[in-house]
Amino acid sequence: MPTHDLPAPFDSGLPERMPDPAIRLPRRTVLKWFAAAAAASQVAGCLDRSGPGGLAPITAPGYGTDPLLTRVYKAGDAWPLTLTMAERTASVALADFIMPADAYGPAASKLRVVDFIDEWVSAPYPGQVNDRKIIVPGLAWLESESRRRYGAAFATLSAAQMDGICADICFEKNATAPFKVGARFFSVFRGLTAGAYYSTPAGWKAIGYEGNVPLPKFDGPPPAVLAMLEVEQTVK
């Protein structure tokens, strides 16, 4: 019988004093936090999880074959989130660089895109587990590249500096050998960011989806669309 049981409320493990890492943090907060984290971990690239106790396998169960479909789920409801504070911070910065606030709509962080990315790379299913192996090391790569070039955490870079890195990894097909790994990461990360962004009402507006609203009748495409396509409505 269906129980629609969900895991017990999940402890994110984030220190309570930290600001919500789903939103874009003020630069000074990030600087302070990274300084503290670096001091604590004694490593420069504190996103590196390749060592012992590194990228842990996902052991949480999935949502099962009979989840309750009519409730509203938040990231973390179905399984625990696993990105570290540093990874989330870098993800927020990169997602906002990919999907900034502009005339089309708000920035990715405003839509809590990083929560989705965290949920995705924390999911127990094979496709997501594969992406986890790209995203988590990719964030570490991004961080070390940022430090190598600019001596600073990615989240603290200026737009021009971010652009410097992203230009080298934004298109896998054209990426040169040193940037192949970064480009693979960027492609997957951008795909996840867009998949999350465009699943929201603000994203629907940005892409031009109108729907999911009850209508008394269905009129088909408006005259301007028919004219543009040079077609006539053939169903009378």
């Binding site: 409801d77 999907m99 951008r190």
Partner: protein, 598 residues
């Protein structure tokens, strides 16, 4: 609702029905409205679309933005419970390791079965489709013809509500005037395909789907369906009035809480329950049909999944509507001294000639559809247009190299985004920032999907049998599938790919991938979820399992009303024909029961 348990079941019923989908649902409705006391066994849980359907839930309200996972193959919101390509605790096996010979078996463990999520495409078989062997010498003729089934197609269409148009095309029957509901307006991509496909000789027109584009006429239809039975008319009218018309939002695959499309749980089961003549027993997985000393079926042995216990339910008539694979499994597991090879299997044909639909598809990118002003194209929650098979004459003249036809299903891409990246990297060319959003908006809605749904010819290599070793959690032997497409299906898929390429080209578009190798583009068996056959209907008791009334030759009070009796699987989606034959069989049972023949 009289949802019962093994403990609260009556000692005996007039009829035991196994399965609650299209066949079982229709049968329950037909028989209970005729006054027969029925019990329905469902292997899954009870399910209520009114409260369980995610009607307006957005992707951002679901885990992983609703994308498909191994636990919800067709997405989080798909109306499939405890099902998909694999069902926990209920394995199936393959006769071969070759991926091309593998059969994918989609099951749902819920009241209403696969009707809760199906595509609602409701096409009548035409006259040729009942006599394919007479036409081209391949496969089998049905012992019945279009004229036998036509009245029931009409009744089912009036009951469930089907939109579409009458186009007067070869082997694509019109419905009587006034039966079909109005076709929805064409969407941008559909109208563009229609205009340009014509230039390469492919006709495009409104499809038929079981969606209420307006409310059913509850004042007049019930009297047409149940003449002389005022009690039945009232029950059916009440049930019709509770169904709402489509409000042009939310995909049909989620099911429909307002009953605006057909699913057994909103159309067949409510009136059947309202008669007071139906008990529904969920979590009851049928294992064997029980045989009396008189050679007649007298009940069903099932596993109560809530306890793991074996239980029995008794009836004077037994109906199997469990799906082709599951019905074959029950028959082959029902072994007795008189039927050592499985019940109703004196012909040895149980499990033989399983078919699916030939499927292959192609995506095109159409520049003319870029930057189209935003507008609402949710429509009827599925296709509005299709192309019925258009080359009957060329095919009969032997010009095509394959013997049977296909229809084309189509769709644009201005549907609800979410979960997946809407901008493929090759089109985005590395874009990020506002440039990405610009490109995403430009290309959104510019992709067109064309899918082949074609007829497969039954063959000796495609069949279901019991696995000699593997059992499910409850100790019941499972089905082992064997599969092989013939050259007819492979060439048909190639032809479809070439047709799609020509259509996209005529639209000024490009296909989204390189031309595949010949014979490689066909979807594996079972992938289209049109599993039919396995209990061949025929005119000869020695060479078939059931007669033209879906009645097994060997056991005259045992009837099969899923798609297992289908001797052929035309390109027309099987569900409408399942329902028409179930209703026809139900009328026959009522008549024969009155005459004391069963």
């Amino acid at each position: 609702m009289p949802i019962i348990t093994a403990k609260t079941a009556q000692p005996t019923y007039d009829v035991v029905i196994v399965g609650s989908g299209a066949g079982g649902g229709q049968m329950a409705m037909t028989l209970t409205l005729a006054g027969l006391k029925c019990v329905m066994l469902e292997a899954g849980r009870a399910y209520d679309p009114a409260t369980e359907t995610p009607m307006f839930q957005r992707p951002d309200q679901a885990p992983l933005r609703g994308v498909g996972t191994p636990e919800k193959n067709f997405g989080f919101y798909d109306a499939t419970v405890d099902g998909g390509w694999q069902v926990p605790n209920e394995p199936y096996t393959q006769g071969s390791d070759d991926p091309a010979r593998k059969f994918w078996w989609w099951r749902a463990r819920m009241l209403g079965g696969r009707t809760n999520h199906w595509g609602r495409i409701s096409l009548r078989n035409g006259p040729y489709d009942f006599k394919p062997h007479s036409r081209d010498g391949l496969g089998f003729d049905w012992p019945i013809g279009y004229e036998d089934v036509e009245p029931y197609y009409t009744k089912v269409e009036q009951l469930i509500g089907v939109y579409g148009t009458n186009e007067g095309r070869e082997n694509t029957p019109d419905s009587p005037e006034g039966v079909l509901l109005p076709a929805p307006k064409g969407r941008a991509a559909e109208l563009l395909v229609q205009k340009h496909a014509k230039t390469v000789g492919v006709p495009v027109m409104p499809i038929h789907r079981a969606v209420l584009t307006r409310a059913l006429d509850a004042d007049t239809i019930p009297a047409k369906l149940f003449p002389g039975n005022e009690w039945a008319q009232k029950i059916v009218a009440d049930s019709m009035r509770r169904r709402g018309a489509c409000f042009w939002a939310t995909p049909c695959g989620r099911g429909c809480s307002i009953g605006a499309n057909y699913q057994s749980t909103t159309v067949h089961l409510p009136p059947a329950l309202a008669t007071g003549n139906l008990d529904i027993l969920p979590n009851a997985h049928a294992r064997e049909v029980l045989l009396g000393a008189d050679g007649k079926a007298n009940g069903v042995l099932f596993v109560d999944k809530t306890t793991g216990n074996e239980e029995r339910v008794r009836g004077r008539i037994v109906i199997l509507a469990a799906s082709s694979g599951e019905t074959v499994r029950i028959l082959l597991n029902s072994k007795s001294a008189s039927f050592p090879n499985g019940l109703a299997n004196s012909s040895g044909k149980v499990g033989k000639y399983v078919m699916d639909t030939v499927g292959t598809s192609l995506v095109g990118q159409i520049p003319k559809l870029e930057n189209v002003p935003s507008h609402n194209e949710d429509g009827a929650g599925g296709s509005h247009f299709y192309s019925p098979w258009w080359l009957y004459k060329e095919q009969l003249a032997g010009k095509l190299g394959f013997a049977r036809g296909y229809h084309i299903e189509m769709g644009g891409s201005r549907d609800m985004p979410g979960g997946w990246n809407p901008l493929p990297d090759d089109l985005g060319q590395g874009a990020y920032g506002t440039k990405f959003k610009e490109a995403a908006r430009r290309y959104y809605g510019s992709f067109v999907y064309l899918s082949c749904r074609g007829e497969m010819i039954p063959n000796e290599d495609s069949f279901a049998e019991l696995d000699p070793v593997v059992k499910d959690k409850w100790g019941t032997p499972v089905i082992r599938w064997n599969w092989k497409f013939s050259e007819h299906e492979l060439r048909q898929a190639d032809h479809a790919q070439d047709t799609f390429t020509a259509i996209f080209s005529a639209m000024g578009g490009t296909v989204r991938r390189a031309k595949p190798k010949t014979g490689t583009e066909i979807e594996p068996g079972g992938k289209i979820i049109h599993e039919v056959g396995g209990a061949l209907m025929g005119a000869d008791a020695k060479r078939s399992v059931v007669n033209g009334w879906n009645q097994t030759w060997d056991v005259k009070n045992l009837f099969l009303v899923d798609a297992s009796p289908f001797p052929s699987n035309s390109d027309k989606n099987p569900t409408l024909t399942i329902m028409a034959l179930a209703w026809r069989t139900g009328d026959y049972i009522v008549d024969q029961a009155k005459k004391g023949n069963i």
